[in-house]
């Protein structure tokens, strides 16, 4: 177990998934909301250098699943392993500290703060010297500069001005802010919950390109999407969620889109 962890960082080694060590592994997660069962014993494995898509009908438990993986919800039961070591994320910042960045479905941006402030929200950088260390003054100029560079590096052109409040942005631009934040800071795993839902064709393609870039940099991605062509385009494996359970895990090679939809809706048993 311990010997495999080193290699797990880089090697996007192709081949049968089962022989590799997952970076992130969830075992039999259960999450209930009062009488509603959000997750009913769901397991999931995320391997190094892969894009894992999660698909499923509305209310199938996709968002709940990734929330349990990223500390936004605490599962009632089940275990979580990062590099095969058990982890217990109690808050989103625990998962963040472990290198897992997430774009939640509701985006989690603060409308009144500007783009740069949102990118650095919760991890503001301070000025150097006594102003920063004693008086805790944030380095606004530096963060804005970095925000500009990061957006440029990510190829996000729709956000020209990092000093506009996020509430003045369109839905798609807000989404770009959230995606940029995750992509810029994710060092181990990036999780995206419907990142293209409000985006136009060009912007969607940019996000897909971004996902491939992350994978090429060795950072595995979990992608939730209702868009089958996107999923089949970018995913290495597809986790199908149905009624709070994992119905199957397939690959774009092994199954067609029609098969995937059939499993999703219960018409086909995997």
């Amino acid at each position: 177990m311990t010997t495999a962890t080193d290699a797990a960082g880089q090697a996007p080694a192709p081949g049968p998934a089962e022989t590799r060590t997952p970076i992130l592994r969830a075992r039999r997660l259960v999450k209930t909301f009062g009488r509603v069962v959000g997750l009913d014993g769901v397991s999931l494995e995320l391997y190094p250098g892969e894009v894992l898509a999660i698909i499923g009908d509305n209310g199938a438990g996709k968002s709940t699943l990734i929330k349990c993986l990223t500390g936004a919800e605490i599962p009632d039961e089940g275990e979580l392993f990062l590099d095969e070591k058990p982890v217990h994320f109690k808050r989103p910042q625990d998962a963040r500290a472990a290198g897992i960045e997430t774009v939640y479905q509701n985006l989690a941006v603060s409308p009144a703060l500007d783009v740069a402030a949102n990118l650095f929200l919760g991890r503001e950088e301070r000025k150097r010297g006594i102003l920063g260390s004693v008086f805790r003054v944030v380095d606004q100029k530096g963060m804005r500069e970095k925000a500009r560079n990061e957006l440029k590096a990510l190829g996000i052109s729709t956000l020209q001005d990092v000093t506009v409040p996020v509430e003045n942005l369109s839905g798609g631009q807000r989404q770009a802010v959230a995606v940029a934040r995750a992509a810029a800071f994710g060092s181990k795993v990036v999780v995206l919950d419907e990142p293209t839902a409000a985006l136009g064709v060009r912007e969607s393609n940019q996000v897909l390109e971004l996902i491939r870039n992350l994978r090429d940099r060795g950072i595995p991605v979990i992608l939730i999407s209702h868009n089958m062509p996107h999923v089949f385009d970018v995913a290495d494996r597809i986790h199908i969620q149905r009624l709070g359970k994992r119905a199957a895990t397939i690959t774009p090679e092994s199954h067609t889109m029609t098969d995937a939809v059939a499993i999703m809706t219960g018409a086909l048993r995997a």
Binding site: P92, V109, S110, P111, R136, V138
Partner: protein, 346 residues
């Protein structure tokens, strides 16, 4: 707040709306006010000063201006605490009661127990912090709405004040000098200012810097804006809220000190109007009752407006009830304007 629009904003209707949005003068005013929330209170303040100055030539007398600043010093200080809490989408109905309780503790411990001034003020500060911690605990741990919490603690603190003080006023002459030091005056350009006024201004500068320049300040805004988004972004929402209530408690203790200097006494019945006035100052100052929007500089303008109205109306010879009436009108108008401004992006 963070909902995404599911349609791309390219339909002809959207474009038309956006076009209209840019061109009607009213919308342009609205956009400006949205961007610079301190503009409208500044205009109101200037107009009020002009009108009251024309109505009564004594209004602009140095002595009267000095009086206004002194009256504003206490409300203005409480309003800083109120601003912090309202920025987190809360409200504090107990600010006046906490201030009075703290001032009674300062006065009584020095006069009856014979404690030195520094120690008495320190104990007053402890009381302010304890009151803030109690409010904060109820809001963050028991998850009660701040309105309900502080409605309850308002009664509790008022009762504690009367029980503790026996209802008796302590005169400034009996207290150590340090306790009444905030009432000392100095002269700038013919106008007398008190140390209390200076302290209040200093408080505004410090809090404005903290809100604007530190991560904590940004987190206060983020928590008030959308607590769930703040939590998901990795901010400890409860810790931020608790720190805000503690900071408010400390500021209220400062307010207590200033109040003793201003009235040269500590009275358990002081400050009945201070609660409403502090909320009015914050709201007139452009801070949104829904949280996440506003500045302390707006609040300072708001506190000045309240002070100018109260003073101007009484100089005009109107009954004190008309002052209360005017404050009521101000608050309703201010909230309506805020609602209208917030429609900029919906």
């Amino acid at each position: 707040m963070t909902q995404q629009t599911t349609e791309p904003p390219t339909s002809a209707l959207d474009l038309a709306e956006e076009f209209l949005d840019r061109t009607t003068p009213l919308s342009r005013i609205r956009n400006t006010l949205h961007r610079y929330p301190a503009v409208s209170p500044a205009i109101v303040l200037v107009l009020a000063v002009i009108v009251f100055g024309l109505l009564n030539d004594r209004f602009l007398n140095p002595a009267n201006l000095s009086l206004i600043t002194q009256q504003v010093a206490v409300v203005g200080t409480l309003a800083v605490a109120q601003t912090l809490i309202i920025l987190t989408a809360g409200i504090d109905l107990s600010v006046g009661a906490v201030m009075v309780l703290s001032s009674m503790v300062m006065a009584q411990t020095s006069v009856q127990l014979g404690l030195p001034g520094v120690l008495a003020i320190f104990l007053g500060l402890v009381v302010g912090l304890a009151a803030g911690a109690f409010n904060g605990f109820l809001v963050t741990r028991l998850k009660l709405p701040p309105f309900i919490v502080t409605l309850g603690t308002l009664s509790i603190f008022v009762a504690l004040t009367l029980l503790y003080s026996g209802g008796a006023t302590v005169r400034g002459a009996e207290m150590p000098e340090l306790l009444t030091a905030m009432g000392a005056t100095f002269n700038i350009g013919g106008v007398n200012f008190t140390v209390g006024v200076l302290m209040m201004l200093l408080l505004y500068v410090v809090v404005a810097l903290i809100l604007g320049k530190t991560a904590w300040g940004r987190h206060v805004y983020a928590v008030g804006d959308d607590p769930e988004a703040a939590r998901l972004a990795g901010i400890s929402v409860n810790r931020v809220l608790m720190s805000v209530y503690l900071a408010a408690g400390a500021i209220l203790a400062l307010g207590a000190w200033i109040q003793i200097g201003r009235t040269n006494a500590a009275s358990p019945n002081a400050g009945a109007e201070l609660n409403l006035d502090s909320i009015t100052a914050v709201v007139i100052g452009g801070t949104s009752l829904f949280g996440g929007r506003g500045t302390v500089w707006g609040t300072l303008l708001g506190a000045l407006i309240v002070g100018v109205f109260r003073n101007g109306l009484s100089l005009a010879g109107l009954d004190v009830l008309w002052q209360t009436f005017a404050v009521g009108v101000l608050i309703i108008v201010a909230v309506s304007v805020d609602q209208w401004i917030r429609k900029v992006r919906k």
